[in-house]
Amino acid sequence: MIAVRPAALLTVAAAVLLALLNLLPAASALHVPDFAVGLAGKYLSFALLGIAVDLVWGFAGILTLGHAAFFALGGYAMGMYLMREIGTRGVYGNANLPDFMVFLSWNKLPWYWHGFDHFGFALLMALAVPGALAALFGWLAFRSRVSGVYLSIMTQALTYALLLAFFRNDMGFGGNNGLTDFKDVLGFDLHSSVTRAVMLVLTALMVAGSLMLTRAILSGRFGSLLTAVRDAESRTRFLGYRPDHIKLVIWVLSALIAGLGGALYVIQVGIINPGEFAPANSIEAVIWVAVGGRGTLSGAVLGAILVNLGKTLFTGLLPELWLYALGALFILTTLFLPRGIMGLPWNRLTGLARGLRSGAKADVAP
């Protein structure tokens, strides 16, 4: 865990700065346009997914290729609340049913949509549903001692199964189109600059909070135990530990963070559809972490932001080549930056800077 505290502070400071500059009059030279705030909010939501992936991959050695499933489930839970918030403002003006249900000629709300007109309930579900799925999946997988590439394949299967399920109209989650056309959250207009600015800062605070929470957990005895389980799982059994339980705890915590990211994502991006379950999304999240630096937490945030910034720029210029660029990035990182951006010799740089500042001969810190 390198520079987690500075990363948390920097994230919040940058988000506050962006939000403030966005609220400047449009004529001002320093004005930040609305779309940039929206993008930043999206990137920070992804950063939460990155932290979640790093937590299990970097610290518990579980290469998850299905974590976007937890992110998307959190997103759907929040999306259901936002759908209910539309009320009579939908195309069909039906106060009791979301538009897509009217379109499918359903006459009553499915039971699992009840309660989602309350923000608090939806937020709880955005955590509880991914958490419960992770608990079930993890319990079954870890107690059967499934690990390594087999577990990775199972996580891909999990997210793919959910993708197929959510595509079905019968599921009651809007099928192919997903949930969208949201109007407001807790009465605040989703399209207003102020709401977006506040959401950006809130997301940054959640990123910072997740960083600090995971750092606190990992720097204590639990972190040592997790390293032990990662590197020599069977040995921990002979010390009396149950590695399956240890992994389950971190796996569920990771899913909760991913779910929170998904919930914040939907509020700021304004749409959630089955595409979020696409296996490629989960693989992308692993690439963010690899690029930023596996097992560093702050690298997960950095990687999520940088790769997605690259994606935004690249898909604007050469959309059809993005996947090749992403693949090349992953290969190059693996070959030349095995410890990611955070693994670069930063302390030499800071040592150099310190040396220059003190006027002494720049000595290279070890």
Binding site: S224, A228, D231, R235, F238, Y241, R242
Partner: protein, 247 residues
């Protein structure tokens, strides 16, 4: 039946794909006893330890601990928590962690995830670690990464981790493999020291070491006990000589 025995193995058999690794093996260990197990490769020494620690389930036979726990029905963590510690043939310490953290994780007590999450090092734990560091002569290396230790030091750290577990019975697989003569002698001293308060089963090839331990010896061959007694008796046993030297 076996209340006077700490460990009681009766007619234990294990087969892997038709190969009989243990063949009606029976072994008794009294409380406080130290026993050396010798035998040629493939005699079943490691399989026996696997059976006692719950790693391998025997096909048939009885394995009891303290006359009350049927070890064939329990898994590794449960058996470890009952008070059976194991040192592996190849030293397995947690290489990324410091020597101190290795010992901290081994200390008897907090094992459940949330107990570990909430754990703060107590003064008692610190004292226990300091004691083990002194016993295993690793005090000067406490903050080093375990992976950076020499082979002999890793063996000692693993013995230290066994002490941290505070087990009633220690199973020690080839503790002096790869050690210098001086380290071997120190290890024999250490095991005798440990044996003052705990029972020990040592598997070893090094005859000088076994002689230095000066304890009852069990010779295994093809999965069962070939001979038992003090080292001189068993090494003069014609069947043992035949097995070791071949004919």
């Amino acid at each position: 039946m076996s209340t006077q025995n700490l460990l009681y193995l009766d007619a234990v058999s294990v087969s892997f794909d038709g190969f009989r690794a243990l063949n009606a093996l029976s072994l008794l260990l009294a409380p406080g006893e130290m026993r050396a197990i010798i035998g040629p490769n493939g005699a079943g020494k490691t399989t026996m330890m696997d059976v006692i620690t719950g790693k391998t389930r025997p096909d048939t036979g009885t394995v009891e601990f303290r006359g009350e726990h049927d070890l064939t029905k329990l898994d590794e963590p449960t058996i470890a928590r009952l008070g059976i510690g194991r040192k592996f043939q190849k030293p397995t310490v947690f290489e990324q962690l410091s020597v101190r953290d290795n010992l901290l994780l081994s200390l008897k007590g907090k094992r459940r995830p949330f107990a570990v999450l909430a754990a703060r090092e107590t003064a008692e734990e610190a004292a226990r670690i300091a004691g083990i560091l002194a016993t295993t002569r690793l005090a000067d290396h406490a903050t080093r990464q375990a992976g950076a230790l020499s082979h002999g030091q890793k063996q000692w750290l693993e013995i230290g981790m066994l002490l941290g577990q505070d087990p009633e019975l220690l199973l020690v697989d080839e503790p002096v493999a790869g050690m210098t003569d001086a380290e071997t002698a120190q290890t024999a001293d250490l095991l005798r020291e440990i044996n003052r308060t705990r029972s020990v089963v040592v598997v070893e090839h090094d005859m000088d070491f076994v002689r230095a331990l000066d304890v009852r010896v069990t010779v295994l061959h093809e999965g069962s006990v070939l001979a038992e007694g003090n080292l001189d008796d068993v090494s003069n046993n014609p069947r043992v000589i035949e097995v070791y030297l071949g004919r």
